[in-house]
């Protein structure tokens, strides 16, 4: 039997990689458009690579799973955001 203390401690799961498709979002230059999408309202759900901008309510997308401590940019409203965990949920906070 292996001593549980000798077992390797589970680290954070590796980040998944996402292929970003065009979403129809058209408020930033073409090369950046796939990194954003419109929030579709209360029924909408964020993916593990997405965060909602608290300033302008656009969904920010990344090619990797997002985690607390990550920094992302909302180009449509020019905000710099940091992801923090609140009540088990990932929330974007503005950094000035």
């Amino acid at each position: 039997m292996t001593d549980p203390l000798e077992k390797p401690t589970p680290g954070p799961r590796p980040r998944e990689t996402f292929e970003l498709e065009e979403t129809g979002f058209n408020e930033v230059p073409k090369r950046f458009r796939r990194f954003y999408r419109r929030w579709r309202g209360p029924g909408d759900k964020l993916g593990p690579n997405e965060a909602l901008c608290p300033v302008c309510k656009v969904v920010i997308r990344s090619t990797k799973t997002l985690r607390a401590g990550d920094r992302v940019y909302c180009m449509p409203c020019m905000s710099r955001l940091e992801l923090v965990e609140e009540d088990g949920m990932l929330v974007a906070k503005v950094i000035y």
């Binding site: 073409k30 302008c56 940019y73 180009m75 449509p76 020019m78 000035y96």
Partner: protein, 258 residues
């Protein structure tokens, strides 16, 4: 977060220089304005409006014209005392946006049968909004950057963003598409204001009390105006959006109590 063209890989300075540039603005507005004269897809059919609906819409658009004129006059004046070149260039793009907003709103008033828009605006303009405009332009005349950015880019733009977004969801198709184009511009204007002021308050926290007094004086003027606007559009009180919600969230992020 890496990937070709990922905006999230930009450095902070590079990001700020990019989003405040004319290059960025050109390519952004191309996405939602190209091929849409006066902000509307050609051939979009006019909906049938009752006389009461048409009259309410005219009053609303007249008040939007007052707000947009205030922003046009203020943002053009602010270029002269903006604290850095990036802010000057961004404000130049905002001036173009505000001029366009005024133009498309006047064009829509013409489509609704208004032949003398100046007289109509004079007659229908909300007194609180006119008072707000007067105070905003006093801050600009005094070359008071913090007060001007706060009044224009945080208070006015934030409330316009909420009202236009909600109105676009209930308006006739032509007005709705025109308003959606304006909302896309407003995202930049209010984001610029909140981020500029947020950075400034970190460096100069003593500015906070002064801006709080300005907030107490001005926010009720704009809130009253837009609450009245929703009434003119015939939106029942219980169906009206939480006008203050986005605005209160923005000022809370900047550290102001409601």
């Amino acid at each position: 977060m890496t990937g070709p063209d990922s905006p999230h890989d930009l450095g902070e300075t590079e990001f700020r220089d990019t989003v405040r540039s004319f290059e960025f603005w050109f390519e952004a507005v191309e996405g939602y304005l190209h091929g849409r004269p006066y902000g509307v897809t050609p051939g979009l059919k006019e909906a049938e409006l009752s006389e009461r609906q048409r009259d309410g819409l005219i009053t609303t658009l007249c008040n939007y014209c007052v707000g947009e004129t205030a922003a046009l006059d203020a943002s053009s004046g602010m270029i002269g005392f903006a604290p850095d070149r990036g802010a000057k260039v961004f404000l130049a793009t905002q001036v173009v946006d505000e001029g366009r907003h005024l133009e498309v709103l006047l064009h829509r008033l013409g489509q609704l049968g208004v032949t003398d828009p100046d007289a109509e605006i004079e007659q229908r303009a909300n007194r609180s909004l006119l008072k707000f405009k007067e105070r905003l332009l006093e801050f600009v005349d005094a070359r008071d950057w913090e007060a001007s950015v706060f009044a224009q880019n945080v208070i006015l733009e934030c409330l316009e963003f909420t009202v236009f977004r909600h109105h676009a969801g209930t308006a006739d198709p032509i007005t709705a598409e025109m308003l959606r184009g304006i909302v896309s511009d407003e995202r930049r204007h209010m984001g610029f204001g909140e981020n500029d002021l947020g950075r400034r308050l970190l460096i100069a926290p003593h500015t906070h009390d002064r801006l709080y007094r300005i907030k107490r004086e001005l926010d009720s003027l704009v809130l009253d105006t837009f609450a009245e606007t929703l009434g003119e559009l015939g939106i029942e009180r219980e169906e009206r959006p939480d006008l203050a919600g986005d605005y209160m969230a923005a000022v809370a992020r900047l550290g102001f109590r409601s």
